[in-house]
Symmetry: C2
Subunit: 203 residues, 2 copies
C-alpha cells in the first residue's frame, strides 16, 4: 500500500493523479488516496499566504514550462488556468466524502481535468455537481455531506496528519514503513520502495 497525498490546486499533483493507478497496478501496490490542503502547511511552515509559484515568479515560470514538457511527454493535455491557485477546499471535502464509497479516484481525476484542462472554477458547486454525477454519486447528497462536520473534521485530520508526517508539498507519497517521497517525479521511486519494503503480512 502507498498513500497518495494531493491538493486539487497543486499542478504537479495533476500528472501524478493521472498516472498513479496504472503504475501502482503494474507494481502490485494498492493506492490510498489522501486529499488534503497545502495552504495551511505553506503558511505554517514557510509563512506563505499564496502559492510559492506566485510568491516567487521565477519558480512559477519554471514550473509552468516544466509542466508543459512533462504533460507533453505523458500525453496529458494542459491549459494554464486563468486563475491559479484555485480554492480547492470544497473539492477536497467532496473527495474526502467519497473515500468510503470508492469514487474518490475517478472524481479526483475529473477535478484535475476541470482545473488544468477545462479551466473551470473547481470551487463552484455548479462545476463539481456534474463531476459528482459522472462518477455515479448524487450531487445534492454529496455536496451536503461535504459540508457536514464529519467530513470537515476528517479533512482537517488529513491536514494534521500531513503536517505530523513531514509533508511540505504535493504530490507526496508515503509508504507503509513511513518513507516520504515528494513530487510527481518521485512516484516510480516511491512505488519501487513500497514493493521492496513490503510489510511481511502482505507477502
Amino acid at each position: 500500500m502507498i498513500e497518495f497525498w494531493y491538493d486539487f490546486a497543486s499542478t504537479y499533483s495533476y500528472p501524478a493523479a493521472m498516472r498513479i493507478e496504472r503504475l501502482a497496478e503494474e507494481a502490485g501496490v494498492a493506492v490510498a488516496w489522501r486529499p488534503f490542503l497545502l495552504g495551511p502547511l505553506f503558511h505554517g511552515q514557510q509563512g506563505l499566504t499564496d502559492s510559492p509559484f506566485n510568491a516567487f515568479p521565477v519558480k512559477g515560470a519554471y514550473m509552468w514550462r516544466d509542466m508543459e514538457r512533462l504533460c507533453s511527454e505523458e500525453g496529458l493535455p494542459l491549459v494554464h488556468p486563468t486563475s491559479f491557485p484555485r480554492n480547492s477546499l470544497l473539492a477536497a471535502r467532496v473527495a474526502t466524502a467519497g473515500l468510503d464509497d470508492g469514487w474518490t479516484p475517478a472524481f479526483s481525476r475529473a477535478v484535475y481535468q476541470a482545473n488544468f484542462v477545462d479551466d473551470a472554477d473547481i470551487s463552484d458547486p455548479a462545476v463539481l455537481a456534474p463531476i459528482i454525477a459522472s462518477v455515479g454519486a448524487g450531487p445534492e447528497h454529496v455536496l451536503a455531506a461535504a459540508n457536514s462536520d464529519t467530513i470537515k473534521t476528517r479533512l482537517k485530520d488529513h491536514v494534521r496528519q500531513a503536517q505530523a508526517r513531514g509533508l511540505f508539498g504535493a504530490p507526496s507519497f508515503l509508504t507503509e514503513d513511513g518513507e516520504l517521497f515528494w513530487g510527481n517525479d518521485r512516484l516510480e521511486q516511491a512505488l519501487a520502495w513500497a514493493v521492496h519494503h513490503r510489510s511481511t503480512e502482505h507477502d
Copy 2:
C-alpha cells in the same frame, strides 16, 4: 552541449557532479561546467539569508533523507556535513580559474567529496590546496588567480547570467536552445532534450 550550473554548497549538485560526465558521454553531449553562487539568487528572489533547507526545517529533514536514498542508489558515499551550508565562494572562484585549463570537472568532484564525504571546510585554502595539486595545478598560483579581479568578475558574470536565464536553484542544466532543467533528478531529461534538439551545426 549542455551547461551544468552548480554551487559547491548545494547538496543535490553533488550527485549531479558525480554522474554528469558519464551520462553525457553516453548521450554524446559535451558538458560546459558553470560554477556559480546560489546565495545571491536565494536572497534576491526569495529574500532568504540562509539555505532554504535551514530556513524551512521540514524541507531540510526531507532533503537529507532523500539524499541518503539517492546516494545509496548511486553507490555514492554521503556524510551529513557538521556545517551546512559551507561557504562556497573560494571554491567557486578556484573552479572558475580552472575553466580554461580543463581541470574544473575533476577539481569540482573532489570539492564535493571534501564537503559531503570528508566533512572538510571547503572555504579553507588549506583544504583546497591539496585538491588543486591533485588535479595537476599549482595551488599557490591558482589560489592567487582565484582572488584576482579577473576571476572574481568572471564568477560574478556567472551569477548574473544564472539570474538572467531564470535559474533559482542548483543543480540546473541549460540546453543550447535555452531549455532549463532544475534538479539532479532532471539530468537524464535534460540530456535527452539536448540530444533531440541539437543545433543543426553539430549534426
